[in-house]
């Protein structure tokens, strides 16, 4: 594998707090998902990769060159930040064009590239609208547009799907997959497994500032499936529901929440559980008010890996 990004024992701390702890990994062409819960250190790692922060320890290189204060690297890199911040007075097209000018393109090229980037993220119709008036999803897409407009070889996308509606989300996932297939190196972060799964099978699992696992997402999926899932159910008759649910072979524990008419159970086979549940509740006329999964399952895998 051609190594584009390489981290060797990289740590970053803010005062007494360690955000990234001695991580070593390498990333090549294609899409790599940086997966971890909120506060895992994903954003810090992204900032180190994009040269916004300097490693406290260790070595982080892109194409074999150090990143901090190495501005020529930004000809080859695009970054979509997590934070929802813009020059709000600008229109979408002005924003992308202004940032393209900083790459030294001619005015004709700036205009061509702006059009192309806006087309790629489906924002052509809103190009002359002020960013301040954009919806959250549109703002995410304009961030993506400025990241890809100069056609970089490496794209670093920090939670790019946050706030997008399902259609935009699907389009963006497709777009990211295409970029990966074109041979670009795309590093994309998320705390939601299925988002990452939809984009790539290659992941980097990070928790408490450490890389816990690196490789194929299916291995992680297997781990998750082996691990009991928490399912929270609020219904009209939680005790009766519990009596019925305890008979399911995959249910390993049930906990009541009398104050909220609810229960939390652990299932070893959530897919099967979800397929059986509606029929059971219908047959016994138990009204379902809410069903959620309190953990995103990743948390369980993190616990498993840490233990």
């Amino acid at each position: 594998m051609t190594r584009i990004l390489e981290a060797k024992g990289v740590s970053k701390w803010y005062g007494q707090v360690i955000a990234v702890n001695k991580v070593s990994f390498s990333v090549g062409p294609g899409v790599t998902g940086l997966l971890g819960p909120n506060g895992a250190g994903k954003s810090t790692l992204m900032k180190l990769i994009t040269g916004q922060l300097r490693p406290s320890q260790g070595e982080l290189t892109l194409w074999g060159e150090r990143i901090w204060n190495n501005y020529p690297l930004f000809y080859r890199m695009g970054f979509c930040p997590e934070q929802d911040s813009f020059y709000d007075r600008m229109t979408g097209a002005e924003f992308v064009a202004a940032l393209l000018r900083l790459h030294g393109f001619s005015e004709t090229e700036v205009n061509q590239r702006t059009d192309s980037a806006l087309q790629q993220v489906n924002l052509v119709e809103a190009r002359d609208k002020k960013i301040g008036a954009y919806s959250k999803g549109m703002r995410q897409r304009i961030k993506l547009a400025q990241a890809v407009a100069h056609d970089p070889e490496l794209l670093v996308l920090d939670e790019p799907l946050a706030g997008m509606d399902p259609v935009a989300r699907k389009e963006t996932i497709r777009f990211i997959r295409i970029l990966g297939k074109e041979g670009k190196c795309v590093i994309v972060s998320s705390h939601i497994l299925h988002e990452i799964e939809a984009m790539t099978s290659n992941i980097l699992l990070i928790h408490n500032g450490q890389v816990l696992a690196e490789g194929d997402v299916h291995d992680i999926r297997d781990l998750i499936d082996k691990h009991p899932h928490h399912i929270y159910i609020r219904c009209s008759e939680p005790r009766r529901a519990a009596e019925l649910l305890v008979a399911f072979p995959d249910v390993v524990s049930i906990r009541f929440h009398p104050e909220s008419n609810a229960l939390t159970l652990e299932s070893r086979n959530p897919d099967e559980f979800y397929s059986r549940l509606p029929g059971l509740l219908l047959r016994h006329e138990i009204a379902l008010e809410e069903i959620t999964s309190p953990d995103d399952n990743l948390q369980a895998v993190f616990h498993y890996l840490v233990k």
Binding site: Q52, Y71, P81, Q83, Y87, R89, A98, G104
Partner: protein, 270 residues
Amino acid sequence: MTGRFRIAKGWRDMKTIAYLTLDTLFWSKKTIFVVFISLVVLGMAVLGRLVLSYNWIRAPFTPAQVFSTLMSTAVIHFMVVFVTLFYGTALISEEVEGKTLTYLFLRPIPKPAIMVGKYLALVWTSVLLVLPTVVFSYLILYLRDDLRPFWEDAGVLGKDIGIVFLALLAYGAFFSLLGAWLKHPILAGLIYAFGWEGIVSYLPGFTRKLTVTHYIQSIFPHENAPASLAMLFGERTQAPEAVSTLLLMTALFLAAACLVLREKEYVLEQ
């Protein structure tokens, strides 16, 4: 990359950053405040003109005296300081606060070029807002049937414009440094402008030479109360030395701001 190409690219980068900054600086709420200060200064000039025209005060005043007082108190020690304080400290700190600095830092531009580009925008905006106030104040006070004083003092106006420009450069560079360096630069800037500059420049001895005000007073072409008071305790610095010191201070403050921007890690809160 050849040296010539590097210079051309550096200049182009700074210009692009300056244009980008101009828009955000000029259309900020600060401009309303600066325009207000400018109107206050012009209002004072109008008041001075009325006093001169209708002899409201028995003591004989000349346009030169009123203009001198206006320049010394309202323009240089107030307007210039406030304009550069508000705009200079905002150059980087507002990008940090608004979390837009990322967009600039992740472009193939050296960080010092970002700083200098922003500083150029600050100078341009300040000049655009302050110098017309100086010129209009002069016109308000001097334009009358007898145009002799107008032409006689035109050279003084030229010097004043030059001094205001030098003051904008020096204060602008210093406040840009504070904005790049500190998280809350306005307070530090106020303490500097009205504490250090306001007090130390009137103290006897060498310390006064550590203020921008001292060098401005040294080349100020009017006799006025604050300058006379300051000069009671020490010699003026010779004009060429004062001008070159102001330019040197500007260069040093700006270089320090570039260094801070290059080396500091800006942690943008999520």
